[in-house]
Symmetry: D3
Subunit: 137 residues, 6 copies
């Protein structure tokens, strides 16, 4: 029986939705107020979940302080209090939609975690809008 | 890698649990205070999730304002501030349990969304009681 | 230094907003969808707070299990799974607005609690709409 | 007995903390990562509360749809998806700290509401940091 | 189409993380402040979910009051206000990590529920740390 | 116009309710399962609020990172992952009820904060039970 262990963290960032290959008009029409050239921002809430077997010695699937440290070092320090469009290298070409932000976070976390773990992550942009990537689906 | 996008919405409704084919006594015994003939009510919280591929141009799996509009037009406008037993056609014959309400919502949303999307929905009746339909299970 | 002790509880009820002295048209215009003659409903969340001195022996301002019991006996049992307009005597003449519901609750609780305590109560009708009565204001 | 009626709303905005009369060094030292020149952002949650007497006819202290409309027209439309430093006239000279943002919101709402009402507002910048202005204190 | 029905409950308990086969030094190094010999405690939140078919007569997958009763009788009464290490037989030899606690809860609930139901449970130790066991994964 | 600034923090602790001057029987009868000699525990959530004037230069009532540091140094480090009865000097003679815990926290914070600030604190023991000390009441 596998157990999934989850850790919640938060960060705050500014962004705008914008496709550099589209005209200003098309961007404004398609992304609406999210295209505001002066940026807007969010409190993002991130949940990182690791599915694996319980180690008989420690009683842990993963040491949650180790998971917490990876999230802080690789995601929170990298994105918190940042302008995603201007300051984060992945979004120089990529539009920082909720979908693309969670994909960037997933790719960074996947590299840090052993393949013995199945990874899933949830990212809330607001209390009403959120996204999930789940390796078991 | 597929991404799941979720949107939260709320509505308020009155209902009573009642099987028209059962006697009053059996209804009262089985459904308890939920069978009160004068109705009671809830703040329902609905989460609609759509799993699909990220469109490379828009950076979206689905335009969440479009998803929001479908939820408002097909579900919230249809159920909000209503008496489910008296005013909603599906519940003329069907007992409005949490299970049947989420099934009615699922059927309505399924018709509105392309089959390229995998759909899942969660419906909270109270903070302690909730239901889920998930096409991936 | 006085300490305020609070207890949270919930109940579910149906109601409609309606002033019996107004015409149907005026009621519908003024109260909108909340005037639906077939009723709608809510999950109400109630917070009851008692301000007083700490008893040196018990270390309590009030025994919170006693406060819990009063809330259950006098409010939850009285209002839960009820139709406020049809089944609660206070609302035979009084329109069950959020303001009038909290006033009815306050009057019932005030009788149960010693005057050495200052009472305040909060009542949530939804996550966005709530009311408060506070004897210290 | 007066009753306080509250309405919750949310908006998302970008900002940076910066005092134009201070050097870049002093700003950076004092405001830390909140001084990031490229901005960061938040989901702000606003609670507006109005204390007054219950009107005997309507059963309302204030029509909460009217209160909702004032909040949307004067605050949400004015601040949502905006860069507070660049796009909001009050913050051209005023540093958009949580304290100054709530003060600007208070001043705008105070003008819209009759003096028969006592006003209080709460503004959450994150789940851990929030501010309140309350005319009764 | 199967529907998943969920019920939330809470309990409070004390525990310490400790492997009896390790030295005091290794326990302290590995489990940190969670190894405190005088114990610490948590408010645990448990969500129990049952996936099955809707019964056509009742409109239920499972009677949620029956599910509530099982949770109260088998889990809450067994763990609430207890010291897990000293008072719960399963943790006499087993380290009460979040993973092992959820496994003990799962084993107890699995025995009570028919195999026609697929079971999944979530256990929150804090708002930031939680675990899940899901038979469908 | 004064502004109140609030900061939220959490800690986990074990305790039992017990009056050393009472017999075992009286303790058990009065405090019920909270008197369990093996202890139980909680996730406590603390909100510390400081009311004062906005400083014109900084735009702050108080630097919230300074407030956060005081809370961490004086309260969280002092109480987190502790057994309140066995390890905290104030509760050697004082029964660690919610009322007495919030009083101990208040006394420690009051010493750290200038008298130009009005202090109020809220302490949640569970989602249903909480306490407040407020200098303005």
């Amino acid at each position: 029986m596998k157990v999934k262990i989850s850790r919640r963290a938060t960060f705050n960032a500014a962004h705008r939705l914008h496709n550099k290959n589209w005209s200003e008009e098309k961007n404004k029409l398609f992304f609406g107020k999210c295209n505001n050239p002066h940026y807007h921002g969010h409190n993002y809430t991130l949940i990182v979940s690791v599915l694996g077997d319980i180690n008989e010695d420690s009683g842990y699937v993963i040491d949650i302080s180790y998971l917490k440290k990876i999230i802080e070092d690789k995601i929170i320090d990298y994105l918190d209090h940042k302008n995603l469009n201007l300051e984060v290298v992945e979004f120089q070409e990529l539009n920082p939609t909720l979908e693309n932000i969670i994909k960037v976070i997933y790719d960074k976390l996947r590299k840090e975690l052993s393949n013995e773990f199945t990874l899933s992550i949830i990212l809330y942009e607001t209390e009403n809008n959120f996204a999930e990537i789940n390796e078991t689906v």
